[in-house]
């Protein structure tokens, strides 16, 4: 994609994301009714589900970038994987924190070694490990290859996390929207589903804005390295 149209896309995302985020905040915190069973604390769902879906999207892009890098050995694909991993770690960590805060009033504990929670913690550790691995290996090509392998392996944790609530007896509830047996609107009333969908869109717009900035940073860092290398 030409540099100019990419910059235009980034600035469009940077304008649209805050607008949809504000609509999502209004809808989730003020307009939506309180849940009949959990009360107002259920409003954390408008952060929690968008955060984990954004994390899944980000790690899916790590997977795509990693596969493409191992196949074609193009630096651009590695930059995509590295950028998506950094933002993915942010959203996985936020999901765990939100879940912990939501768990305290509903389950009575901040943390429990439930299958889904444990697998999500492992998911975070894999991608923190990915970032550490990338910064510890000096040879860039080796770091990119090792990162790509770990990125692909780490992605395989997503189906485990998603299916854990079916495979094991867990404290965590089954999925609210991505269920194999029911459509989302059969599971949640529209009054709660609407703010959830708005917040999912808000997080997606924010995610692509952050990714475009992080990808640009990766490109600039590569160019700086290449120019310094050419000089020496």
């Amino acid at each position: 994609m030409p540099q100019r149209s990419r910059r235009k896309g980034t600035s469009l995302l940077g304008t649209a994301a805050p607008v949809v985020i504000l609509i999502g905040l209004y809808w989730g915190l003020i307009h939506a009714p309180a849940d009949a069973f959990q009360g107002d604390v259920q409003r954390i769902m408008y952060l929690h589900i968008p955060s984990i879906l954004t994390a899944y999207l980000s790690i899916f892009l790590v997977f795509v970038g990693s596969c493409l890098y191992l196949w074609k050995r193009e630096k651009r694909d590695d930059i995509l994987a590295y950028s998506a991993a950094e933002i993915g770690v942010l959203f996985i960590a936020l999901t765990i924190v939100e879940g912990s805060i939501w768990g305290r009033p509903t389950w009575g504990v901040w943390w429990t070694w439930d299958a889904r929670l444990t697998l999500t913690a492992v998911f975070l550790l894999i991608f923190v490990g990915y970032l550490m691995l990338r910064s510890l290996i000096e040879d860039e090509s080796r770091a990119a290859t090792a990162g790509a392998v770990l990125g692909i392996v780490g992605f395989l944790d997503i189906p485990l996390i998603h299916m854990s609530v079916y495979w094991w007896r867990t404290l965590h509830q089954p999925p609210s929207i991505l269920r194999p047996d029911k459509a989302p609107w059969e599971n949640i009333p529209w009054a709660l589903l609407t703010p959830l969908l708005i917040n999912i869109v808000a997080f997606a717009l924010l995610y692509f804005y952050l990714l475009s900035l992080r990808f640009r940073l990766g490109e600039l860092q590569e160019e700086i390295k290449a120019r310094k290398l050419a000089r020496s």
């Binding site: 954390i44 936020l94 305290r104």
Partner: protein, 51 residues
Amino acid sequence: MGAWGYVMLAYGIVWGTILLYLSSLKRRLRRAESDLALLQAEEDTGRHEKK
């Protein structure tokens, strides 16, 4: 802590962390842009001196 206390804690942490990450990303981006501009300027000066 009441229900709204937990809600505000979660929203505060999430949006605070995202804003911190965004500002650090923009700072890193500005630094990289200025480093690249500096390198470009040095290369241009070097080319002029050779001529």
